[in-house]
């Protein structure tokens, strides 16, 4: 354990304020009951990626504890997992009544409040996962793929499911449709620059944007329309730059807030990108998970790419987590 802590410290000095985690599955031949190559939660070290905790085939999303970012919360196929000690020590916080978790969102303005979306609803805990309450009662269809807490407005949540984007102003007690009606939502993100700016990636419908704090979303051009987008991100270092990832779309960048797009697939082994993340600590650095290939990294906003590791994986989420509380 001491060795691991040293590695963490080294990593911290190299990457500044953030730790980079990836949730992935190396599951080309895996079905339930079969042998699973190393999969689950990985941490970027100075030289490679290090597997954390248990081998796990289905981790969809992660977030961190506001008061102690060494504690992660993992939305997994078999429950919500508290992964403490920088992801090494795991404990299930949920029981037999929920399965197939799709997203987790910690309210970083409300200590101890954790939300997750799953295949049949949305749940909240206000005591760090000791007890849970269902919140999807007001939703016609319960399947929830994406869930975000508005960091600027207490009680505001956005959820993306089978029938579009829904917004709640009362902590999930009631919901109103906010846009993308009839489309399945795959990812929701809030701008790190302007909290009233939101983006939503969808299946078939392309990209949707909100400029009024998530109250309404409108289609944002033709990017991804007809195909399936898997991820979207604002560049934390440039308010004009956004990126989307998807099946056949690969990775595309807009330098003008979505008005125009450039494909950035040159150097990627296939145009099927499952996840992406901008490095908040280094301008121009961008990661992309290429389906069943590897994680790729670019130092020039996707104009060129090199393989970064996690060979053969499907990377479901790439997240930069602050090294310390309050960042």
């Amino acid at each position: 354990m001491r060795f691991l802590l040293l590695l963490g410290a080294f990593h911290s000095s190299l990457y500044g304020q953030y730790t980079l985690y990836a949730a992935m599955a190396n599951a080309k031949e895996y079905i339930v009951g079969a042998k699973l190559p190393p999969s689950g939660l990985f941490l970027k070290t100075a030289s490679d990626w290090r597997h954390l905790g248990y081998n796990h085939p289905f981790i969809s999303s992660l977030d961190y504890d506001s008061s102690d970012p060494s504690i992660l919360y993992l939305a997994a196929g078999n429950g919500l997992i508290r992964a403490s000690e920088h992801g090494e020590k795991w404990k299930f916080l949920t029981g037999s009544d929920v399965t197939e978790l799709r997203d987790v969102a910690v309210d970083h303005n409300a200590p101890g409040v954790i939300y997750f979306g799953y295949c049949h609803g949305i749940r909240v805990s206000r005591d760090r996962g000791v007890t849970w309450r269902e919140l999807a009662g007001g939703l016609h269809r319960k399947f929830t793929e994406a869930l975000r807490v508005d960091r600027a407005r207490a009680g505001v949540l956005l959820a993306g499911g089978e029938e579009g984007i829904f917004r709640s102003e009362d902590g999930g007690e009631t919901w109103k449709i906010a846009g993308a009606a009839g489309f399945q939502i795959t990812r929701l993100v809030q701008s790190p620059h302007a909290p009233c700016e939101w983006l939503a990636a969808t299946q078939i419908g392309g990209l949707f944007a909100s400029h009024d704090c998530g109250k309404t979303f409108e289609n944002s051009g033709r990017i991804g329309v007809g195909g399936n987008l898997s991820d979207v991100a604002f560049d934390p270092r440039d308010p004009n730059r956004i990126a989307v990832a998807g099946w056949t779309v690969g990775l595309a960048i807009s330098e003008d807030r979505g008005a125009t797009w450039q494909s950035r697939n040159a150097g990627l082994p296939s145009p099927h990108v499952t996840s992406l993340a901008f490095d908040p600590a280094q301008s121009g650095r961008l990661y992309a998970g290429v389906n069943q290939e590897a994680l790729y990294v670019s130092g020039d906003n996707g104009k060129s790419w090199s393989k970064d590791g996690l060979d053969g994986s499907v990377v479901t989420r790439i997240d930069f987590i602050p090294e310390s509380a309050g960042k």
């Binding site: 339930v32 796990h56 020590k89 037999s96 399936n228 389906n291």
Partner: protein, 596 residues
């Protein structure tokens, strides 16, 4: 199949008289693994079988440590074998083997899976291991939870599953393969649960699950509609786990050459022997009967308002054959089998004694209904393990464009296929083991199945024949509005196939294909059947009452939806399973006439 192992079990079985006793059948299954004769060894199953027999304890310890050192693999399919080993230890394993086993429940995190059987195996194993190692903190378990927390979580799920099953039916119902992974957990809990209520509940569920199979078997073969079946057992109905259990419980048919390890683990725990009433239900075929069941779909995460849809099953059984069906539609993903005719043969091994049609359907929408897959990689992921899922030639799976209606031994299948679907045609399975087939000028196809059964099939649209690898023919009809009328009869009812054909050709049949397929047919049994695609079928002008379809109904089983109560009936014998009060009551029906 490992030939030496097959020979071993066959040799051991041939030592018995024609129908060995239950205890001998059970022993033969255990010995097939304990004294496994194939190459190498049989891993956890062999360890468990030897421990049960109190044999070779030193080998068992060594082997167990070796397997655990190599790293557990298999999720819940690892959990249940090592749970059996832990309970069959009874002082035989070495301390180091026991320690390695204990350690593995901390070092390895089995995935809980995504099906009903995965959860039941997972939680039953966790329940029993938490019971075995009580008062241990979360530091000792992969869950991070204490023994008591694990036990409670597992108890809650198991009890909720029993309640759901006894009120709304199983979701993964009547599977000739997966029936084994429901029987194992109940056998374990009946044998090893310390809580008397859990023990009793599990024992009652064994009766319940066996009762679910008993009226729908023909010579041990599981007939009719299934939630899940594999293609090899779909056409060679003997070739599956249900043959092991039919033989073990009732001496019916033949077990697999090496009985599946599902039958082994069942036998190593409670090895529950069904009561006489279940034996009678499983074997009484003197009088034809219609059996009804209501089941539910698998969890539908998307595209439906209700988590579970209703499944309405009808199964007609007589000595010579069985006809069984659901109502059609996509009720389960990938492996659904919606209807078939099965004819009796003296020895079903290697025989494809069945007939059915399907609309071959595959779609990302189907997968997204039942799984959390993304749409692009989902189908490819399924095809990794279910090879024919996305094949136009396939014979397995439900279709949203198929509607079925059965009355006794008459079945009408109607298809209204959307042109944009992936495979816009229907397939019919015509077995290599049909002993006669005649394409009559009337449009009917007349067939003889084995020596016992005549089958008439009237395709509503033209068709062509395509060969099936391994024998038989596939009827292929590319017409979008389509259908089949099927009438079955015992060969003993007619002098020959030609006479049967003449009788069928005389039956009034009217049909139309536009705007949707519609059939009006007077069955061989005298009923006027009306069925229009998408409408409720009618028998003699009266619509089928789906709203009052019983959980179980027919001469042998009786259960109302939501009742948590099942009554088994045969002659004067009655057994009542009351899950609300956890009681089993055997009684005699005084009203029943003396001559059954």
């Amino acid at each position: 199949m490992k030939i030496a192992a097959c020979l071993s079990i066959l040799a051991s079985l041939s030592a018995f008289a024609q129908t060995p006793l239950f205890a001998d059948r059970k022993l033969a299954i255990v010995d097939a693994y304990a004294h496994y004769q194939g190459k190498g060894d049989y891993g956890y199953a062999q360890i468990a079988a030897k421990l049960w027999r109190h044999e070779d304890a030193a080998w068992c310890s060594r082997k167990l440590e070796q397997l655990l050192a190599a790293g557990p693999v298999g999720d819940m399919f690892w959990m249940f074998p090592v749970t059996a080993i832990a309970y069959l230890d009874r002082g035989q394993l070495s301390e180091s083997a026991r320690t390695a086993l204990r350690r593995s429940w901390k070092s390895y995190m089995p995935y809980r899976g995504d099906t009903e059987n995965h959860f039941l195996l997972y939680y039953t194993s966790l329940y029993l291991m938490s019971q075995l190692w009580p008062h241990q903190s979360g530091e000792m378990w992969y869950t991070g939870k204490s023994s008591e927390e694990n036990l409670e979580e597992a108890r809650q799920w198991i009890e909720s599953w029993v309640k759901l099953t006894t009120t709304r039916g199983q979701g993964e119902y009547d599977s000739p393969h997966y029936m084994g992974v429901y029987l194992i957990p109940m056998s374990y809990l009946a044998a090893w649960a310390k809580d008397p209520a859990m023990k009793k509940r599990a024992t009652m569920m064994l009766d319940y699950l066996i009762a679910d199979y008993a009226p729908e078997n023909l010579d041990g073969l599981y007939v009719g509609a299934h939630a899940r079946v594999y293609e090899d057992q779909l056409v060679e109905k003997w070739n599956g786990v249900s043959s092991d259990f039919g033989w073990l419980w009732f001496g019916l048919g033949h077990p697999l050459p090496l009985p599946d390890n599902y039958a082994l683990y069942y036998s190593l725990a409670s090895a529950y022997q069904p009561p006489e009433i279940l034996k009678q239900i499983a074997t009484a075929r003197a009088k034809p009967y219609t059996h009804y069941e209501r089941k539910r779909t698998r969890n539908r995460w998307r595209f439906f308002d209700d988590l579970h849809g209703r499944v309405y099953k009808t199964t007609y059984v007589r000595r010579e054959y069985a006809v069984g069906s659901d109502q059609g539609g996509v009720l389960q993903p990938i492996q659904q089998h919606s209807w078939d005719v099965t004819w009796s043969v003296p020895d079903a091994r290697g025989v494809e004694n069945t007939f059915f049609t399907i609309q071959p359907y595959s779609s990302a929408r189907e997968l997204q209904t039942y799984f959390v897959f993304d749409p692009d990689s989902g189908t490819a992921g399924v095809v990794k393990s279910k090879k024919t899922y996305d094949s136009p030639d396939k014979l397995l799976g439900g279709s949203p464009y198929e509607k079925l209606f059965q009355d006794k031994d008459t079945l009408i299948a109607l298809y209204d296929i959307q042109p944009e679907t992936r495979f816009p045609h229907v397939n019919g399975f015509f077995s290599k083991d049909l002993t006669q087939t005649t394409e009559d000028s009337s449009g009917w196809i007349f067939m003889r199945g084995g020596g016992s059964t005549y089958i008439a099939c009237r395709p509503l649209e033209p068709y062509t024949w395509k060969p099936i690898a391994g024998g038989g023919r596939r009827l292929f009809s590319p017409y979008l509005k389509n259908g089949f009328v099927v009438q079955v009869a015992a060969a003993s009812e007619y002098p020959d196939l030609a006479a049967f054909g003449r009788a069928i050709a005389k039956l009034p049949l009217e049909f139309a294909l536009d705007p949707v397929p519609s059939v009006r047919f007077q069955s061989l049994r005298g009923a006027t059947l009306e069925f229009t695609y998408g409408n409720t079928p009618k028998v003699n002008g009266k619509p089928l009452d789906y709203n009052h379809w019983p959980l179980f109904g027919g001469p042998f089983l009786e259960a109302a939806v939501d009742s948590e109560k099942l009554v088994l009936k045969h002659g004067k014998m009655r057994r009542t399973l009351d899950f609300r009060n956890l009681t089993t009551t055997d009684s005699v029906d005084p009203e029943f006439p003396s001559a059954p």
